[in-house]
Amino acid sequence: MSVNVDGKKVLLIDRTIPEILKCNTKIEPQLLLAFANHLHLAGADLIEIDRSILDYLGYDIDPRRLIFRIKGQEDLEVLESYKFAYSLVGCKPCNGHLLQCLKHHNHVPIILEIESEELACLSDCLKGVDFDGIDTIRLQGLNKYQIPEWIELISWIRDNFKVKTDVCPGNLFHLAVAAVYELILSTNRPDFATVSFTGIGGSQGYAALEEVVMALKIIGRVEVTAETRIFSDLSHRYKNICNFSISQRKPVIGKNIFRVESGIHADGLIKNPLLYEAYEPEMVGLKRDVVIGKHSGTSAIGEKLRQLGREEKKESMSIILEKIRRRSIQLKRNLEDYELLNMCGG
């Protein structure tokens, strides 16, 4: 998708696939390949993989859209045959020789990944590194970092090491989406931001791709080329291949996020949907659903009954409303259409 803000591009890197395969290695390769292609349509410019994923997918994927993680000497051979967009290596003492070898494959730009929770540890990690030949530093973790600390950190990296930056905040404290969003819209924006679909990623998670894309589009009013309508489809594919559930309230993709019951809000939505929704549900492949329950008002009930082909007199609405409230409390849920019709005399 590449986010273009004031003439500068920020590329979104997605690392969903390695995270999925950590949890489930019995996925049909064709399904995973289709999922990868959908991630690309949904806004991921680059997809992170490693050699085991490449073996799994059967090398049937465009390498120019891939970031290849180097884990060992044997991975270097793959670099000879495929023109990946970037190679990625972790900044660890044991990877020193590997990094030197990688620099000899200088046709593939190198991203050096540094994982840290504190700035002091980050500085220590960077001390021994020879930055000659390194294209980008990925800053991973820093779970508790907020704005403006992140912005100061990026300036510090740029000023001291003259490299590009990739931010990959951990989501342990639910701050990752905000960090990525604010950084992309800041004047000192990074070159890359690394995210994952639903925010999947070990115990801490990452910024959710779909939340970042929609926040940029709706709040930031940034022109994004991602096909946001496929988010719903992507979440079905994700559930099918991983067997993971997605919370019904998950921002952007939760199946109930456009389900409305409150009388005040349902009434407002009838007048103008934007009163109580930031964007139209269709924009993310979902539909609005006004349901009737304890919090419904006479206006929403009247509208629902009209949709079901029934007209009720105004004077009988308060009786129906009270019946609905009592029944809904009894059932501890909203009412189904047939239950509503039965309540109104069939």
Partner: protein
């Protein structure tokens, strides 16, 4: 100032489609929230009448340590129901964005300020502490938000809540808005929604900028993508706010109890 938690599980949380609590259940949830030590429990909407009003009356009679508030539209008729309930605090929701004022109400800003004054005076004449909520503040003009805060200050309102009604805030924006509104001298609160996954970050940014009250719900329940999650907020503030301490283990345990009552997994 120490951060004060306002739990709105029984009002905004229960507005999540499919949740419906009866009198006994609402009382049980209020007791669990009180045992957690939340500063204020927003108990519901008395103007709904019936069991909802009765449940708020009963919660107000429990003599809990948490202060009990009731949510109202900007209408004296609605506020009269809250007066009947005998709560500690009457919360008045004031439409603040052009979209809400003109599309929903077909009114103008002067009308809003005038009605707001009338409603505050009515509640105060009846002996209540008043909080004002600026509905849809994140899509409102700053100059009008300042006028609401100034009017509230003139009328001796205890606190004004900045409501991100459709969840379109970001941390940089809310920090700037809270800093601006603080200049009016009124105490401020933040009510964040999680539509883009930023409710915790926005609440923290508002608190860092000077908001003294933060709204949340148990497990983040609420309309659409929900509200600021109580447990997650406590987790994120650890070590950040001197003197602000909750026992996370106890929150988890009580949260389980509340979700069981809500029949929500």
């Amino acid at each position: 100032m120490r951060l004060k938690i306002i739990d709105t599980t029984l009002r905004d949380g229960e507005q999540q489609a499919g949740l419906a609590l009866g009198i006994d259940e609402k009382i049980a949830v209020a007791e669990l929230l009180d045992s957690l030590g939340v500063f204020q429990i927003e108990a519901g909407i008395p103007a709904m009448g019936g069991d909802e009003k009765k449940s708020i009356e009963k919660i107000a009679c429990l003599n809990l340590k948490s202060r009990i508030s009731a949510w109202n539209r900007m209408s004296i008729k609605d506020i009269s129901h809250s007066v009947d309930c005998g709560v500690d605090i009457i919360h008045i929701s004031v439409p603040s964005s052009d979209l809400h004022i003109r599309t929903k109400l077909s009114k103008n800003e002067e009308w809003v300020l005038e009605e707001m004054r009338k409603c505050i005076r009515f509640a105060k004449e009846n002996g209540f502490i008043v909080n004002v909520g600026m509905e849809d503040a994140s899509r409102a003009r700053m100059d009008f938000l300042v006028r609401i805060c100034e009017t509230a200050k003139d009328e001796d309102v205890e606190m004004v809540r900045y409501a991100d009604t459709v969840g379109v805030l970001n941390p940089v924006r809310i920090a700037a808005d809270i800093a601006n509104l603080k200049r009016t001298g009124i105490e401020l609160g933040i009510h964040a929604h999680n539509d883009f996954g930023m409710a915790i970050a926005n609440t923290l940014a508002a608190v860092r900028a000077g908001a003294g009250f933060a709204d949340c719900t148990v497990s983040g329940i609420g309309e659409r993508a929900g509200n600021c999650d109580f447990y997650d907020l406590i987790h994120a503030t650890e070590g950040m706010l001197p003197g602000f301490k909750y026992n996370k283990k106890v929150i988890k345990e009580k949260q389980r109890g509340i979700l069981k009552i809500l029949d929500y997994c």
